[in-house]
Subunit: 350 residues, 2 copies
Amino acid sequence: ILSKRIVVLSGDGIGPEVCQEAVRALKAVADKFGHEFVFDYQLMGACAIDATGDPLPEATLEACRRADAVLLGAIGDPKYDNNPSAKVRPEQGLLRLRKSLGLYANIRPVTAYDRLLEHSPLKKDRIQGADMLIFRELTGGIYFGEKGRREDGSAYDNCTYSRYEIERVAHRAFQAAEARRGKLTLVDKANVLETSRLWREVVQDLALQYPKVLVDYLFVDNAAMQMILSPKQFDVILTENMFGDIISDEASVIAGSLGLLPSASVGDDAALFEPIHGSYPQAKGKGIANPIATILSAAMLLEHFGLQEEANSVKKAVDNALEQGVLTPELNARSPYTTEQVGSFIAYGI
Amino acid sequence: ILSKRIVVLSGDGIGPEVCQEAVRALKAVADKFGHEFVFDYQLMGACAIDATGDPLPEATLEACRRADAVLLGAIGDPKYDNNPSAKVRPEQGLLRLRKSLGLYANIRPVTAYDRLLEHSPLKKDRIQGADMLIFRELTGGIYFGEKGRREDGSAYDNCTYSRYEIERVAHRAFQAAEARRGKLTLVDKANVLETSRLWREVVQDLALQYPKVLVDYLFVDNAAMQMILSPKQFDVILTENMFGDIISDEASVIAGSLGLLPSASVGDDAALFEPIHGSYPQAKGKGIANPIATILSAAMLLEHFGLQEEANSVKKAVDNALEQGVLTPELNARSPYTTEQVGSFIAYGI
Ligand SMILES: CC(C)[C@H](C(=O)O)[C@@H](O)C(=O)O
Ligand SMILES: CC(C)[C@H](C(=O)O)[C@@H](O)C(=O)O
């Protein structure tokens, strides 16, 4: 019997709805396998600003530090987006949380599900069998560099990477490639950016330690095209923070729905699990949000605890929902199920 | 009778082959309409490094300054790409040229050609009718900011934008939107980057001067996804340098081939026309490079000279080649034509 403390940051928009279903799945796992999971709900994002003025209140950060893992729904609210002079933003909470917990590697699996090929905007022959793992560096680069305004009214954002920041996420990507099909593609813009040239140097150096991994290099503009032209060429993709943000959202079209894609953000002493979709405020409260991305994030959380069998039982239950068409409207327009129905079906199948 | 001086920078890889066909088309236009075009061939890129040690020799820059327009093939050679410590690179020539000539607006039309829908990796119903114009800022941002290494071995790239740099390209984009379907989408990452927030502010301010244009804002990660999910939503896209690089290459999948997409880079006193594809060194000398992107770039050059009828005759000849299937192998695998055959067919049709 395993006892674990999980902080749940439901966040904004559809975050609470999808988290509820992931927690339902985790409770079903606990029941079936006899574990004890304690759920500690905390505020982060716009809801935290509304309640406390701070997108990441100290209590939340403390709870995350003490937790065995963090489950996150989504954060963000349009009332902050079109107000460029807003001083506090929901996103700051997430960025600060990633940095404070040292979550330097964001891992995003992207698979073309056979049952859902018809839902992808891409032709079937291009995507059938596509299966990649994207490693996005998550605590460095331009998102975290110094930024501000100058007296002349201009704005700046600085991008910095140290060898160490690149090495630690690159090692994880190489190890994953070794355990998979043995290919690693570094996405950069080394023909223009100095940070990209450092990425390329470090990866070339590390490659010597992983002789079984074939390393490939793509400029980010070309990668954005190749992702659509021939996604099957990719096994493990490694890239810096902003390129990873763009490329992984783009890659989601392969799966047929953003609502299917989980992610894990890991560091040396902490781990956070979240769907890659956003807070989708327009859908809030309508019961149309797909909970599968968050439920699969919970499965990654179980794997992180070393509970492979438990994780597999969640994934099998998800496969079954896909198989039976127990899906939210974006994937089943004819006889759609609600968020809660999909979540209950999956929990029941565990 | 019009007399114009055109500098041709054939560049590297397939650059010379595709430029030859664009020049052939321009000569056909000169003959038919009684204009005089003088072609001045100059070196830039890897070929210029090989010949002079400098990717943009002074003589080339001087010739471009005196020219009425510049036609560029493509630059880049893999021998520089995987050598992160190379001191001179072909790309520096292009970046310096853009900056020296003040080519701040890169304009990339992307259309789904009915005849070529089957060649796109995207499903027909998603792309049929897609027609957008991407405005990429071309002389600012992270490509041109200070960059280098620090003593501790870390690398940095700085991104800066002034109000003025944003305004001048934004005005052009708004004007284009007014003349088209009246929609402008700003692509940024204003939830994280300070430069993006400045972009959003400036565009919000300018929007007041263009009351007929509907302005929309998308985060770049979402835009990378929307480009594939529903490309028909876009009319004019406006974005900063690096996001434009990524998004426009990605958008090329809509057309069915990168080999079809032209671009114009314009400033207040100079203009350069180039295909958006690269130097594709693997294809060099094989006669398989598609010259259409460069020929359509030449058509944009004619429009820039105010020669709309002439430009239309080039575009009609290109349409005819598409119609008749007189196309290079990537678009006509069964009975492919060579680069020169396609170019000659088009020139003949002018
Ligand atoms: C909300 C935002 C700051 C975040 C990011 O860009 O990192 C999101 O887009 C993501 O990908 O997790
Ligand atoms: C060659 C390179 C510097 C260039 C760029 O990124 O600007 C190219 O990719 C382009 O898009 O014109």
